[in-house]
């Protein structure tokens, strides 16, 4: 539920698709291996070409890697400063004057598998921003952002819903 005490600039963002972005490189197996290695994931679907061919008609990425493909490189030629994913979230931190934030919960639904060579497009939508509250971490607001992702054929590959707490630590200046 969205609060009524919001700055107009925040209110104007709610429900509006923004930051439509394409993945910066075609989906590739190297990152799949990195993720599987980081979690000791031995699923044959991601390591065995024959299993992948039989079950999914070729190599795919783990569904939970959905957000991985949309994060920008930390640096790129000509890009001003640090590059961040989920800009709608950082906009809310700035507009609400809440310098810190944590992910409270995450929900994802997965559609067409992401295949090697795919190019994905994601859109960010702020769904709600709650009232100011006192929390264990400080004074803050909860907000919800959806990221909807499609492949180059326009097929839905997944939606991630992030529930954040943006907050100001006790004693920190507003």
């Amino acid at each position: 539920m969205t609060s009524t005490d919001l700055p107009p600039a925040v209110q104007a963002l709610i429900g509006v698709p923004q930051y439509e972005e394409r993945s910066e490189f075609p989906i590739e197996i190297g990152y799949v291996y990195n993720t599987c290695a980081a979690t000791a994931n031995g699923n044959a679907l991601f390591w065995d070409e024959a299993v992948a061919r039989e079950l999914t008609g070729g190599r795919i990425a783990p569904p939970t890697m959905l957000s991985v493909w949309m994060r920008p490189h930390y640096w790129a030629p000509g890009a001003p400063g640090e590059r961040k994913a989920l800009m709608a979230h950082f906009d809310l931190k700035e507009l609400c004057g809440l310098p810190e934030a944590v992910v409270v919960s995450n929900e994802a639904s997965f559609g067409e598998p992401v295949r090697m060579g795919d190019v994905l497009t994601a859109t960010q939508i702020v769904r709600s921003v709650g009232p100011l509250k006192q929390t264990k971490l400080g004074t803050g607001r909860f907000w919800v952002i959806d990221v909807e992702t499609r492949n180059q054929r326009g097929e839905w590959v997944g939606t991630e819903t992030y529930n954040f707490l943006g907050y100001r630590r006790p004693g920190a200046e507003a």
């Binding site: 079950l55 783990p62 939970t64 929900e107």
Partner: protein, 160 residues
């Protein structure tokens, strides 16, 4: 394919417990996960930043890497024919270097939809030193029989 584990919907019943998994977490575990998920935020690799800016004791596992850990845990159980449809989780406490994560899960329901897809619902969690740090829920498709393959479902035949 015969050597690969393949859990069928008929193998599963509500109340069934998933095999447990224990993982010792080091700073390397956390940094590997953050970099694999292309999450460059400093609280996942810079201890001083995590302490000073986030007010926590150390760097901690990032959300996308938690997703990957949960997928690994669930598909260790189902084998490669298990297909994730939906996953949600809520973090109550961060996981830090030195912690040991204990993954657990329990089947809460089984169902079928109008397309013939067989679904299993699982509640899962991670505990550290007996304290629940993260809890979640997943909905996975499993083969109805040996010749069935949830990954073959597309468009209107896939309703997660």
């Amino acid at each position: 394919m015969s050597a690969v584990r393949r859990l069928l919907a008929s193998d599963v019943a509500p109340g069934q417990e998933l095999p447990s998994l224990r993982v010792a977490v080091s700073a390397t575990t956390i940094v590997l996960g953050a970099l694999a998920s292309r999450d460059w935020r400093p609280m996942h690799h810079d201890k001083a930043f995590a302490i000073e800016r986030n007010g926590v004791q150390d760097i901690f596992i990032n959300t996308p890497n938690f997703q990957a850990w949960f997928e690994r845990y669930l598909t260790d159980w189902t084998g490669p024919t298990g297909r994730l449809g939906r996953m949600t989780f809520k973090m109550k406490r961060s996981v830090f270097p030195g912690d040991e994560m204990a993954f657990s899960g329990r089947v809460t329901g089984t169902s079928g939809d109008a397309t013939g897809c067989r679904w299993v619902d699982v509640d899962f969690g991670v505990s550290v030193a007996g304290m629940l740090t993260t809890e979640g829920h997943a909905k996975l498709a499993l083969p109805a029989h040996d010749g069935d393959n949830p990954w073959a479902r597309r468009g209107p035949d896939w309703k997660p």
